[in-house]
Symmetry: C2
Subunit: 388 residues, 2 copies
C-alpha cells in the first residue's frame, strides 16, 4: 500500500515508518521537523544520538534496499501544498502523528497552549478538508490518547474502546444508546485529541471519510526490530521534564543513580505499551480499515496498566535505585484505578511485549549506554498546571 | 458593570451592545468588521440599511447620552493586543459573539470550512488563555447554538440545558452520572460550537474560568427597543442563502411575492427566539454568573419550536404567499421532533415575544419597507453539505 506518515520523524512516527517500509509498503514521511526545533528551544536533546532525517533514510535504503520518501511540509499552514500532494499521490493510508504530543509542554505557557491547539486542530482539520476536496479515499489512522477518557470517571466499568453503552435517565423508551465516551481531558494537549474526535465524527458522518483513532497509553522503550539494525537508525529517547514519559524517565534516572522522581503519591494508574507494540498496532489498524460511512473505528492501544509508584518500585528493585516523592504539577486526583478494554487488538493477534520482560534490556542498551549524554538539570518537570 | 462585546457589530452583537448600554453598563465593542467584509465577498448586503459602526455609536450617544467604545481587533490573530487590553480594562463580563455563525457558509467550500474552524476555535481559545495569563476574573457569556445537540437523538426525552443525566449500562454501582449532552453537530459551524464546549469545560475545571454558554435557537426579527429609536441604529437583516435564517427569509419572500422556499419536506422542527428576547437573555445571563470552579453554566436560549413547513404555512396564511418545496442541501433527516427545556430563563423572568404576535409588524416594518433593496438572485441556498 501507499502510506503517508504525517510526523514520521518523531518518536512514534520514525519506527512506524521503518516497520511499514520493512513490510513492503511504499512509505512517505511528511514532517516539518518541529520536534527537533523544540529540542533546541528547550535546550535538551534525545538521550540517544538520533541522526538527521536524510541520514536515517539513506541508511535504511543501504540496509534494506527500500526507499522511504521525505517531504518537508508544515501541515498546519501549507494547506494548498497538502491538497496538491494528495491529488497527485493518492495514498491508501495516512497515518497521522503530526501533533504536539506532550501534556506538560502544552501547559508550560500561554504560548505553548496556543501552539498546541493551533497546530493540532489545524493539521487534523486541514487533512479532513483536503480529503473531502480532493475526493481521495485515504484511510486516516490517527494517534489519539487514553487521556481523552480522563481517569476514573466510569469507576469499575472498564473504559470501552471509544463508545459507551448508556441509557438516558427517565427515558420512557428505555433505549440503549451508544455515545462517544464523555470527554475528560487532563491537559490542553489531551483536550486537542478530544477536539480531534469530534471533527472525526463529523467528517465520517457527513463525508464518509474513513478514520481509525488509536487511544494509546504511555509508550515505553526505544527500539524496534528495524531501529536496532544500525545505530544511525536509532529512535529518539526523551528524558526531560516535558517530553520524557514516566517510565523512560525512571530508566534513565536508574542508570545514573539519580532518585526515581515520582510526582505526588504515585497512586495514579496509567496504561502502557511498548514502542514495538505501537508499530504493530498501527499495522493492524491499517490492515483493518472501517468502511466509508462507518463511524470512526476506535481502538485502545494499551497492553498493561500500572500505578506509577509500583513502576518506580519495580525499577528500584531491578536496579537498586531510590525513590523521591515530589509535588505533582498536574491538576488531578492523587489516586485512581483504571480499567481498560483492549480486546480488539488482542483479537487481531497482538502479542505484546510486557514490562517485566523488556525493562532490563532497555536499561542496559539505552539508559546505561548513553548515560554520559544526560543533562541532569533537564530532568525535573517545570510545567505547572495551575498558575500560582 | 464594565462589559466587552466581542463581535458587537453583528446581528446579535449590535442590539446587545445597545441594550446593555441602555441599562447603564459601560460597554465596549471589540470587532474586526469581518461580517461586513463577507457581505462584499458574497456580493450581498443587509436588507436594512445599516450604517458604519462609527455612525451607530455617535447616533447612540446623541440619542441616549451614553458612550459605547469601539476597538477594531482581530481576536483570532492579535493575541498580544487582546492580552494587553484585558490587563488594562479588566472587564467584569465578556460577551463572546466573535464567531463565524452561518452553517451554510461553513459548508460552502474548503476555504470557508477552514476559516470557520480557524476563526472560531482561535478566538475562543485565545480568550481563555488570555484570561488565565492575565488573571483577570471576567465572566464569559458565549453564544452557542441548539445545533450542538443535533436533532432527535434523545427522542422524546427533552433536550436538557447542557447536561444529561444518564447511567452506564451494566454499571454495578448503578450510579446516576451527568454528562455534557453528546455532540451531534450538523455542520462545520455547529461543530465549532461543540469544540468550544470542550474548551470551556477544560478551562472551567483547570483554571476556574467562569463561563456561561447560551445554546440559542434560530433568531427571528430585526429590531429591539433601542435599534428602533433612529433609522441609523437599525439592525442588520440577512436574507441571502448563506446568512439569512429561515423565518427572516420567509418574511422577505412574502413581502416581494416570491414563493416561500422550503428545503426538503419542511418536516424539520427547529427552536426559535426573537432578537428582543436574545438581548434580554444575555442580560439575565450576565446578572446570574456561575462561581469560580463551577462547570460552565448552560442555558437553552429558545422560546418556541416549530416545524419549518408550519412556519411557512403561517406566513403564507398571513400574507397570501405560496410555498415552493426545494431540494434540501443539508445532510439531515427529512423529519424530526424536537423537545427542548428552557426552564432556567423562564425562572429568571424571561417574558418572551411570540411568533404569532410579532410576525406582521416584522413584515410591514422591515420586509415591505425595504423590499426595493432586495436582490432576488441572492435568495437561493447555494452551499451543499455533500460534494456531488
Amino acid at each position: 500500500m501507499k502510506i503517508w506518515i504525517l510526523g514520521g520523524d518523531g518518536f512514534c512516527g520514525w519506527p512506524t515508518a521503518l516497520h511499514l517500509s520493512d513490510q513492503g509498503h511504499d512509505v512517505t514521511i511528511l514532517d516539518n521537523l518541529v520536534r527537533r526545533q523544540t529540542d533546541i528551544l528547550l535546550e535538551v536533546s534525545s538521550l540517544t544520538p538520533i541522526t538527521p532525517i536524510s541520514t536515517r533514510i539513506s541508511v535504511w535504503h543501504d540496509i534494506s534496499g527500500k526507499k522511504i520518501k521525505f517531504l518537508k511540509i508544515n501541515l498546519a499552514n501549507e494547506y494548498y501544498l497538502l491538497l496538491e500532494l494528495l491529488k497527485k499521490e493518492k495514498p491508501d493510508v495516512i497515518v497521522h502523528f503530526a501533533e504536539q504530543r506532550s501534556a506538560p509542554y502544552s501547559m508550560k505557557s500561554a504560548e505553548t497552549k496556543r501552539y498546541t491547539v493551533d497546530n493540532n486542530i489545524r493539521v487534523t482539520h486541514n487533512l479532513l478538508v483536503a480529503l473531502v476536496e480532493s475526493k481521495v479515499n485515504s484511510h486516516i489512522v490517527h494517534l489519539g490518547t487514553m487521556g481523552v477518557y480522563g481517569y476514573g470517571w466510569s469507576g469499575k466499568t472498564p473504559i470501552p474502546e471509544g463508545y459507551l453503552k448508556m441509557s438516558i435517565n427517565g427515558d420512557k423508551e428505555k433505549k440503549t444508546r451508544e455515545i462517544l465516551y464523555p470527554a475528560n481531558p487532563g491537559s490542553v494537549y489531551h483536550m486537542t485529541k478530544n477536539l480531534d474526535q469530534l471533527m472525526f465524527a463529523f467528517y465520517a458522518k457527513n463525508d464518509g471519510i474513513r478514520i481509525t483513532d488509536l487511544h494509546q497509553g504511555i509508550v515505553w522503550g526505544t527500539q524496534t526490530i528495524q531501529t536496532k539494525q544500525d545505530e544511525r537508525l536509532i529512535n529518539r529517547f526523551d528524558y526531560d521534564g516535558d517530553y520524557g514519559t514516566v517510565l523512560n524517565r525512571f530508566l534513565m534516572e536508574a542508570a545514573i543513580n539519580y532518585p526515581l522522581t515520582v510526582h505526588g503519591s504515585g497512586g495514579q494508574t496509567r496504561a502502557f505499551i511498548n514502542i514495538q507494540d505501537t508499530v504493530r498496532c498501527i499495522e493492524l489498524a491499517i490492515l483493518n480499515p472501517p468502511k466509508n460511512g462507518d463511524r470512526p473505528a476506535i481502538f485502545n492501544q494499551v497492553t498493561e496498566t500500572f500505578k506509577v509508584v509500583n513502576l518506580a518500585k519495580l525499577v528500584a528493585k531491578l536496579t537498586g535505585a531510590t525513590i523521591d516523592y515530589l509535588d505533582n504539577p498536574r491538576n488531578e486526583a492523587a489516586d485512581n484505578d483504571l480499567f481498560v478494554e483492549n480486546k480488539q487488538f488482542l483479537a487481531l493477534g497482538l502479542n505484546s511485549v510486557k514490562l517485566n520482560d523488556g525493562l532490563m534490556s532497555e536499561i542496559e542498551q539505552i539508559a546505561l549506554k548513553y548515560a554520559s549524554r544526560i543533562d541532569k538539570t533537564k530532568i525535573p518537570a517545570r510545567s505547572l498546571w495551575k498558575t500560582k
